[in-house]
């Protein structure tokens, strides 16, 4: 059922409730875990007012699907989905959704966190932070490299 493993890159908002509702009917699913990342007021800078997300069209989708494949190889998943927004995203806006569904909660939790950690390390998105003082590209974080490494 590979139709249950999908990714989307879009400027439009997503609806976490609607995404989760789509998986509510699967009879062998006992657990869903949904991660949502949103624009917060601090990052490399303080007082961030917005982010701008750029991506590499084509490679982004390939990269996200490859991450879902890695997750499926590790945990018994009934479904998984990634939605990542691009473009201009003001403070408080949702950026990314990662949703996993499995028979057991432990697998759903682990796979969701794994997908998010690998996305941060491998998927070709770049963030620019906007503040009152100007804008600049966000630097890659060592902590994100470490987060992905602990799954190896």
């Amino acid at each position: 059922m590979s139709a249950a493993f999908t990714v989307a890159v879009q400027t439009a908002r997503f609806d976490p409730g609607a995404e989760m509702a789509q998986l509510a009917g699967l009879p062998d699913v006992g657990a869903q875990v949904c991660f949502v990342g949103q624009v917060r007021d601090f990052g490399d800078s303080q007082a961030v007012t917005a982010l701008e997300l750029e991506h590499y069209p084509g490679m982004t989708e390939k990269s996200l699907l490859a991450i879902l494949d890695q997750a499926r190889a590790r945990w018994p998943l009934a479904a998984a989905r990634v939605v990542h927004r691009v473009g201009y995203l003001p403070l408080g806006e949702a950026i990314v959704l990662v949703l996993t569904a499995s028979a057991h909660r432990g697998d759903a939790f682990a796979a969701c966190e794994f997908i998010m950690d690998y996305l941060k390390r491998d998927a070709p998105f770049w963030k620019k932070e906007h503040t009152a003082a100007g804008s600049h590209w966000v630097e890659a974080k060592h902590s994100d490299q470490q987060a992905a490494q602990r799954w190896q």
Binding site: G37, L53, E54, H55, Y56, G58, M59, K62, S63, H84, I95, V96, M116, L119, K120, R121, D122, A123, P124, F125, W126, K127, K128, W137, V138, E139, A140, K141
Partner: protein, 85 residues
């Protein structure tokens, strides 16, 4: 002759002042020989693509290593470490 479609993203595109270009190299090419050709332009090219700098190369939308051979028509993207999510 190896004609490549080159793409640059994010901070690197801003610094190089270039988002896309077509480049033809003489004879066989690898990721490493492409980078040498770009650095040979000097200025920001030499500076931004210095081996000590942190950047990645993808060939046909898959991350590549320096020794990877390039074929005519390949899409080669050069970009900073990713920061999505």
């Amino acid at each position: 002759m190896t004609t490549l479609n080159l793409l640059y993203f994010a901070r690197l595109r801003d610094a190089l002042g270039c988002g896309q270009e077509t480049l033809t190299l003489d004879g066989a090419a690898t990721v490493a020989s492409l980078l040498d050709a770009l650095r040979a332009r000097g200025g920001v090219w030499a500076e931004q693509l210095d081996a000590a700098r942190s950047f990645r190369v993808a060939v046909n939308q898959t991350v590549a290593h320096a020794g990877q051979a390039l074929a005519d028509g390949d899409e080669v993207a050069i970009f900073p470490p990713v920061t999505g999510g």
